[in-house]
Amino acid sequence: MMVNLKINGKKIAVPAGTKLIAAAEKAGAEIPTMCYKKGYPHFTSCMICTVQEMKSGRMLPACSLPVAEGLEIETENQTVTDMRWETLELLMSDHVGDCIAPCRRTCPAHMNIPLMNMYIESGKAREALMTVKEHIALPAVLGRICPAPCEVNCRRSFVDRRLSICALKCYVADEDLASEKPYLPACKTPCGKKVAIIGSGPAGLAAAYYLQQMGYTCTVFDKNPQPGGMLRYGVEKSILPREVLDAEIEIIRRLGAEFVMQKSLGSDFTIKDLQQGFDAIALAAGLLSAEELPALGVAAKGRSVKVDNFTFQTDIAGVFAGGGIINPGKMAVRSVGHGKSMADSIDRYLSGRVQMMRLNRALSKVGKIKENELDAYAAGIGALKIDVYDHEFHRLLLEKNNAGISRVQAEGEAGQCLQCGCISFDNCKLRLYSEQYGANSQRFKGEDRRSIERVFDHPHVLYEPGKCIQCGLCVRITEKEGETLGLSFIGRGFNVKIGAALNGSMADTLKKTADLCVEACPSGALAFKENLCRFR
């Protein structure tokens, strides 16, 4: 018997008993799902597949509802979106894990610190450096002057001691500069478009570093005789030796950026002038004086140039600003981050791609970790609780201002990284949908979070119960595929969790379904260990 219904205004007929989700697929409508997987019984748990029946206004879970004659379904509308958004916010409020490690999240330049650590520890210096330079154009410089907000937020700092991330970065950069052939990133073939960068401080240099790689031809203007801005004229030589600064500027020069010194915006040329010869302009001249600012001709707010929070664009199209000129703080790493962000924005502006950047509140965060959670957290990845403070190492760091740690020290230090970030970052449906629907992971934040746990007893699978959204897909997979022990729901209600039946181990449980379960897990609770400790 065929049943007639409408999906998004499209009439279709499907056999009786068909679930709405299959009918929608037939009608060409894609519905997000988490707890549902073709071939396994539906369960109606996550509710992300909710759609609306327009005649009654009812909200229906598409994965489980059998079609009925005359239904009029909309799979996307404001009510549906709002509901999915709230569903995701609720799920996120009980999802305990860090999408991004706290160190990386708080790094103003978003450097991938855990990945760097992983490379250092396994002796892959070049890969470590490439990881660093993906976000930080001047690592040797920052290695000496960065106040390292990342370290303050290092997960370990709440239990024993923070990792010396900045020293590790410095080590990686110094090793590279001292090598025979320092790393020179590949540049795209020049596309012919030109960018003027005003200021050769950390923001300007970083913008030039990335724009050159993207195929733009940069000219850096600076009022001083030598490039470097505050790095050269504001930081003492004893802290930042000039040969280190010069070496990193030299790399930018070698990428093709041109430096025009002792020329300043306002007195030597105006924005209008620059617009004649350049396709885009990046203002990175640092903190301006009360007289200099109005002369620029861009909208200002207080003593700063006003920019869009996401794109760094000023009120004039094609004119961007970053670093001290928009934010009077003195943190060079923030300026370096702005430089990279401006480069990304300019690239999107010049290539006509859509602006996709938005403030990301969807990311899941754990916050402080309790001392008793550390063991569970660190176990299995070789990071041990540090009982003895390594005085020698830290004396060295203080005396030499981070520089000069040995390879053995660096590898040992990097090996203490807990790898807090999520290894399922790229294929976590919960994160992807949360970003898509703009879900705020903190709105429904509960009073007590679930405790952090990492279960390592399976040879290949890492299970993090805190990340589980109790959708039970893995339970149904182990049941259907006939695992002897299988996974089971344990408990009920808010405290329900999924675990091995009869107090078994994960190794006993996932004997033949490990791949299937990991692949199906929508929230990164089950993942392959190898992805966490790829190189062990």
Binding site: M83, L90, E479
Partner: protein, 783 residues
């Protein structure tokens, strides 16, 4: 224990119960019965020797509240935290037990493993609130102070062996009348058992020509234990709140001992007793109740008995008596004169709607099942009454089991089902026993089994003892549980009427709905239809409890107003306090404020007043009840009972509860109310079953009618002076220096100062309220 020994014990259990996947709940129940908990080795044995999977065992054992995975103490103290007990101070009783037994915070068992303290949703003894069950005894009207005595009393009495039951009979077998007494769970809790035994002893000792009879409950719970003397000449005398030591006097008032010696013994002991008992020890004098003029007239007057017909006179398990009072007349009428279609017409015509809470027309449901294709159909009697503050189904099953069975038989005949299950809540020990015995009696009398009453109709019926999950009152969850799974609801459609138990068309009806059926078919649908309002017909039972003078189980015609129930039947509020609100429908219902008390008992009227008809919980609240606390109480209940399947119910209710707890703890924040309100609406929309869809109702109804109380909590005030974090105890000048408060305080918060005004040391005060309760001068202030 040796594993071989355990294995053979487990094997024996499996042999007697079965090892199919659907047997897992009864199996685990039997194991727990034997070991007091579920030893892991036993669970492993089940997996090794049956077709039950490991996941099913773990899943089920951890889902139902009844199962324990760790050894419990020798005796389990079940502390009722039902609505009535909650408003009467159950939390303080729980704390008192834990203090008394010295049980550390996160544990539930004392060091000697003698007692385990457990909170239970509702013992169904609401009029005895706060109540506690210990082994087979229930203790009511507890106070913090009585707790220690209770434990001592229990320990001394549990060592006495219980003798076999004795039956009394006068010498020549002739009797002058009956002494009737109900021994349902509520009456037992009120102390019926010692009274019954004393009656037995006295009747035997004096050879009184009287028949002692167990009868179905009158529902006059506030007078429980209630003894009725029914003489052969038709006169009846009722004695309320009977005490064992008073039974002899009462008996001798109405019946003469059979011979000379007995007569003289009686006289002598009576005289001696009067002489020896000092006046102070004399309990409050009891008078026979005069039903015609006393308060019982107004209690019983507005009631109408259909489901509880012949309450107080019918022996629950006497089939002949049930029959001679119209029992099985309806069934025979149906089997002989009516076609199934005609029966469904009648039920539809009666206007009977589901009494479990939903209010779906019963006739319509029957029609759906009757019309569903399939050669095999089931019928389930839903007795998983889990609402805190509701015990109608329990009472009906204990007092009128034949009526329920008759209703099921008629339903089965009408819909074409040949197999049925009575699904009965775990926390009721007596209801399943009563139902099982009634089934056996029916089987022996050709009322169940093949060819019922010489017809072609056959029907098989069994009892399933639930394992403790409120959500199993939801029909799809109930069915999952019968199939041996975790009681997690499924999305409807498909409805059980099409795809129910084992995928077959299944009729699920509530106990009360089924118990109404015989009356309807015996007296005619019109008679039923005449009672009530436009959309709500017949009668409805309620468990009336809370801050009311006369509580108990009542059955009233639809259309009676809440005010009539509170004032006429209930006799008004206790302690001359002000009537504030009436909670109807338990955790799925809402609070109706006193100014809407003229709302009639009617499905639609109750819904529009912010409550629901629900299954019959009715708790009256007075000015000292905090509405935010009530909202928090119900949210805590539903949140704990959520199965955890769908996001909104699992996480949404938890977040709602957290907000409510914040408010009660004085940590409310601006914006909390808005968040609570919007979350409530989302949880209603986004949950797949009735539990989640109705869970926000108590919160919403209180937001609607008592919003200012929520607002006061955000400002850090509790207008009813109930929320501990927001109140302070002090003693004012009225203090006479009697030191009772200081003696009663278990936390050294009051220094003993004879003849001086006492002072409460706030830092030590746990706000347990005992000082206020013991103060004879009303000097304890709560602000």
């Amino acid at each position: 224990m040796q594993s071989a020994e355990l294995n053979s014990e487990i094997d024996a259990i499996i042999k007697s119960i079965g090892g199919r996947p659907s047997d897992v709940i009864p199996l685990l129940q039997a194991i727990q019965e034997k070991y007091n908990y579920l030893p892991e080795a036993a669970l492993r044995r089940i997996r090794e020797t049956t077709e039950i999977t490991a996941a099913a065992i773990t899943g089920v054992a951890t889902f139902y509240a009844q199962f324990r995975l760790k050894p419990a103490g020798k005796h389990i103290i079940k502390i009722c935290v039902g609505t009535a007990c909650h408003v009467m101070g159950a939390a303080a009783i729980y704390d008192a037990f834990k203090d008394e037994l010295n049980i550390p915070e996160k544990l539930d068992t004392d060091r000697d493993r003698l007692f385990t303290v457990e909170k239970v949703a509702c013992l169904g003894c609401c009029m005895l609130a706060p109540a506690v069950q210990l082994e087979n005894s229930t203790y009511g009207h507890l106070t913090r102070q009585k707790v220690a005595n209770l434990l001592a009393d229990f320990l001394s009495s549990s060592q006495m062996a219980n003798g076999p039951e004795k039956y009394s009979r006068s010498r020549n077998g002739k009797t002058n009348g009956e002494v009737r007494m109900c021994r349902c769970s509520s009456c037992l809790a009120a102390g019926a058992e010692p009274v019954y035994r004393e009656l037995q002893n006295n009747i035997q000792m004096y050879r009184l020509p009287v028949q002692l009879k167990n009868v179905g409950c009158t529902g006059i719970a506030y007078q429980s234990p209630l003894v009725t003397v029914a003489l052969n000449d038709g006169r009846q005398f009722q004695y309320g709140k009977m005490q064992p030591e008073k039974t002899r006097e009462m008996l001798l008032e109405h019946f003469s001992p059979a011979n000379f010696i007995s007569r003289n013994t009686a006289r002598l002991t009576n005289f001696l007793d009067r002489y020896l008992v000092s006046p102070q020890d004399e309990p409050v004098t009891r008078y026979p109740l005069d039903i015609r003029f006393g308060p019982e007239a107004s209690y019983l007057g507005p009631q109408k008995r259909i489901v509880t017909e012949q309450s107080g006179s019918l022996d629950p398990l006497n089939l002949a008596e049930y029959r001679s009072n119209g029992g099985f007349v309806a069934l025979n009428k149906c089997l002989q004169n009516f076609s199934p279609a005609k029966i469904i017409d009648e039920v539809e015509k009666s206007g009977l709607r589901g009494r479990g809470g939903g209010g779906f027309p019963v006739g319509k449901k029957w029609r759906l099942v009757a019309a569903a294709a399939g050669d095999k159909k089931y019928i389930i009697c839903n007795g998983d009454e889990g609402d805190p503050g509701a015990f109608m189904d329990r009472m009906v099953l204990e007092s009128f089991p034949f009526r329920v069975i008759e209703g099921m038989l008629i339903a089965a005949y009408a819909t074409g089902a040949d197999e049925g299950v009575m699904y009965i809540r775990a926390e009721y020990p007596f209801a399943p026993q009563s139902a099982r015995r009634a089934i056996t009696i029916c089987e022996e009398n050709a009322l169940l089994g093949q060819h019922i009453s010489d017809s072609d109709f056959s029907f098989k019926l069994r009892v399933f003892s639930a394992a403790g999950a409120f959500v199993c009152g939801e029909e799809t969850a109930l069915i999952s549980s019968l199939e041996g799974e975790r009681g997690m609801p499924k999305l409807r459609p498909p409805f059980p009427a099409q795809q129910g138990l084992w995928g077959k068309p299944t009729l699920v009806n509530n106990v009360e709905s089924l118990a109404s059926i015989p009356w309807i078919l015996r007296n005619g649908a019109d008679h039923f239809f005449k009672l009530g309002t436009k959309t709500s017909k017949g009668t409805k039972t309620f468990a009336l409890a809370g801050k009311i003078k006369r509580s108990g189980l009542i059955e009233v015609p639809m259309g009676l107003t809440l005010r009539q129930i509170v004032e006429e039947i209930g006799g008004g509020i206790i302690d001359d306090k002000t009537f504030k609100a009436i909670q109807v429908g338990g955790p799925s219902g809402g609070c109706i404020p006193s100014w809407l008390a003229d709302t009639p008992i009617d499905y639609e009227a109750l819904t529009s007043a912010g409550a629901i008809m629900g299954s019959g919980g009715m708790v009256v609240l007075d000015e000292s009840d905090c509405m935010v606390d009530i909202a928090c109480y119900f949210m805590a209940f539903t949140q704990a009972e959520s199965c955890g399947k769908c996001t909104y119910c699992r996480i949404g209710t938890k977040r709602m509860l957290e907000i409510l707890q914040r408010l009660c703890n004085g940590r409310g924040r601006k914006g909390d109310l808005e968040k609570l309100e919007s979350l409530s609406l989302s949880v209603k929309t986004g949950s797949i079953c009735g539990l989640g869809k109705t869970a926000p109702n108590p919160v919403l109804s209180i937001l609607k009618h008592f919003r200012e109380e929520y607002e006061a909590h955000i400002e850090g005030r509790c207008p009813a002076a109930k929320c501990k974090a927001l109140i302070i105890y002090s003693i004012d000048h009225k203090c006479i220096g009697c030191t009772r408060c200081a003696q009663a305080c278990a936390f050294q918060a009051i220094e003993m100062k004879p003849f001086e005004q006492h002072v409460i040391i706030s830092d030590n005060c746990t706000k347990c309220d005992i000082c206020r309760q013991v103060c004879p001068a009303d000097a304890v202030r709560v602000i």
